[in-house]
């Protein structure tokens, strides 16, 4: 019994670009990542603004906060929230402008300014909540940790020093009675105990500062280590990509150089077969015909190697993607394949509806031509090949190429897209295949985000289903081009 199998080609993520990513400036995060973090921090700050407003609102009730042992303070939470909101709006506006500019040094400046403003407002909150008798002072740690992640060690140390200075200033101003001592607890025992005990104040303040510096040391050290490792990996990746490019470039040149001598051999054989160098015996003609056949197979292999190397190579600028009339391209590929199919007694049925895609025309043509060539090559004499194309309202176009030929055993389906892989059945049926056609299909499909599904059963046939990525712009362009696509575009 012939077991049918189904396999879907994985849509792997594109290779990391060899283009220069913004490099970390002396150990900090790369500029482009900083822009993302600027926006993230701004969004996070709205939550803090909301929390302050909520706290202020709770303070408006004469019973809720006192019921929990907390003094109601209706003024300062709103004032701090307004200041924080205004600053955040400015930072966010600046960050959005930065996003359009890509990597630039202003992202670092924006983040640093955010840190400083946050620390100033946090110091105000620390004063109002209670600088020594509550744990609020540990909120400085958030900024110290973030600074260690975003910035270089010296810069993060500077942020830590600013935090320490502001906290010490807060405590000193309170100590000097320049401002009335803050605090949110209704029970004054703890506050009075701290206020009346210089030793407690000293221990609490010193412990807080020591904790911050230890946290700074640990986090900045670990962060710098991770960043160094990241930079090392990025560098290795760049070198690998560069080596791969060089290898592909070498392969391109080699395969290209191979074509020239081969062309001379092929041309000379053609001259002999035409009898231009004198009459040939029937044996000589047969031998030369074999040479010619093998030469043409070699030509096809060289051409496919060249195409594959070209697809793998990033030496050249990537070809520009354009709007393509997929239906038209499919009809053209079928027309090219029809003479060979007729020679082998194979019928090709078309059911092609209008469809449009974006891509590199030559690559997509390679993909379709290879699948059609396979359908014909692995069909039995007198077989049928069905080619269909449709585009439903909200989806990308779907192309199916179906044959009732020799089929592929289920266990071999995951390997058919490998370079030079050929099933024994395929090699037996068609000796002229190079084993590169489906590797080309894989590269083109993955580069274009096309889902390729293969269902096959030995001696029953194979169906390739290509699902192109959905994009509303495609349909719009189809309409503009008068391709008659029946969608709402």
């Amino acid at each position: 019994m012939n077991v049918a199998g189904v396999y879907e080609l994985p849509l792997t993520a594109p290779c990391p670009s060899s283009g220069s990513r913004a490099t970390p400036a002396a150990g900090g995060l790369p500029e482009d990542m900083l822009v993302t973090n600027v926006l993230w921090l701004c969004r996070l700050r709205w939550i803090v603004v909301g929390a302050l407003v909520l706290f202020g609102a709770l303070g408006l009730s004469p019973t809720w906060l006192p019921g929990m042992g907390v003094l109601p303070h209706p003024d300062w939470p709103f004032a701090v929230a307004v200041a924080l909101a205004l600053a955040n709006a400015a930072f966010l506006a600046h960050a959005r402008r930065l996003r359009g500019l890509g990597a630039c040094p202003w992202a670092r400046a924006n983040l640093l300014a955010q840190m400083v403003v946050d620390l100033l407002l946090l110091t105000a909150v620390v004063h109002f909540v209670g600088s020594l008798e509550t744990y609020i002072a540990f909120a400085y740690l958030f900024h110290i940790v973030l600074a260690c992640i975003f910035f270089t060690r010296p810069l993060s140390l500077a942020v830590t020093a600013i935090a320490c200075f502001l906290y010490l200033a807060c405590v000193a101003i309170e100590e000097a009675r320049l401002v009335p001592r803050g605090g949110i607890y209704t029970d004054m025992t703890l506050r009075d105990h701290v206020a009346g005990s210089p030793g407690v104040r000293l221990v609490n303040t010193g412990w807080a500062l020591l904790t911050w510096f230890v946290v700074w040391y640990l986090v900045s050290y670990l962060s710098a280590t991770v960043r160094a490792r990241d930079a090392e990996l990025a560098d290795s990746n760049r070198r690998l990509l560069s080596a791969q490019e060089e290898r592909c470039g070498h392969m391109l040149r080699t395969t290209h150089e191979l074509k020239a001598p081969f062309s001379a051999i092929d041309a000379s054989v053609q001259v002999l077969l035409r009898g231009l160098a004198g009459p040939l015996s029937s044996d000589a003609q047969e031998i030369l015909t074999r040479v010619s056949t093998r030469s043409r197979r070699l030509a096809a292999e060289i051409q496919e190697m060249l195409q594959l190397a070209n697809l793998q190579s990033t030496v050249q600028n990537p070809p520009r993607r354009e709007q393509i009339d997929l239906a038209d391209m499919l009809r053209s590929c079928v027309a090219q394949m029809r003479p060979l199919a007729e020679e082998r007694g194979i019928r090709i049925e078309e059911q092609i509806e209008p469809a449009c895609v974006r891509g590199v025309e030559e690559y997509l043509r390679m993909l379709l031509a290879n699948l059609l060539a396979n359908a014909v090559a692995y069909s039995h004499r007198g077989g049928d090949v069905r080619v269909a194309c449709s585009q439903k309202r909200a989806d990308g176009p779907v192309v199916t190429i179906e044959d009732n030929g020799i089929g592929i055993p289920a266990g071999k389906l995951p390997h058919i897209f490998d370079e030079y892989y050929r099933t024994s059945e395929a090699a037996q049926h068609n000796r002229e295949s190079t084993g590169l056609g489906l590797a080309i299909v894989r590269h083109v499909a993955q580069a274009h985000g096309i889902r390729v599904r293969v269902s096959s059963a030995p001696n029953a046939g194979t169906t390739f289903t290509l699902t192109f990525p959905e994009d509303p712009n495609f349909a719009i362009t189809c309409k503009e081009k008068g391709l008659g696509l029946h969608t709402d575009c």
Binding site: A260, A264, A267, S268, Q270, R274, L306
Partner: protein, 140 residues
């Protein structure tokens, strides 16, 4: 029938192509480098120039020759050019877009090696026939 100049550093290929074209009644001259090609064309103007692209002296010498013929040599300007090369037309690997824009487009036709010599012959007939027809129209 016409006088054709083949400019190709691959002598084996050029000889084979020349044989087939001569069989068709054309007069064919072979030249193995682009400098000699210019001299040859200036001495006797061909009715068609068949150019390779990559030569030992430069990988784009064929493009440069086409540019010279089209833009810098008044007496060579109207000669039809057929590129016959191993360079792929759609993916001319290793060439810049400027190469393609400036020098590829002036060509009248293109064939990629390896090529069927029968196809080469029919292209040549078409190019020479087209040129002859234009000349005829002009003279009448």
């Amino acid at each position: 029938m016409g006088y054709i100049l083949i400019v190709d550093d691959d002598e084996d290929f050029a000889l084979a192509a020349a044989r087939v074209l001569r069989e068709g009644g054309h007069e064919v001259q072979l030249v193995l480098d682009t400098d000699s090609a210019v001299r040859s064309m200036e001495q006797r103007r061909p009715q068609l120039a068949i150019l390779d692209v990559m030569f030992p002296e430069s990988s784009s010498a064929g493009f440069e020759l086409a540019r010279t013929m089209r833009h810098h040599k008044e007496n060579l300007r109207g000669i039809p050019i057929l590129f016959l090369t191993a360079v792929n037309q759609r993916f001319p690997l290793g060439f810049s877009s400027r190469d393609i824009d400036d020098t590829w487009l002036p060509a009248d036709d293109f064939l990629e090696k390896p090529v069927s010599l029968e196809l080469l012959r029919s292209k040549v007939e078409k190019l020479l026939g087209g040129r002859a027809a234009v000349s005829k129209e002009v003279t009448s």
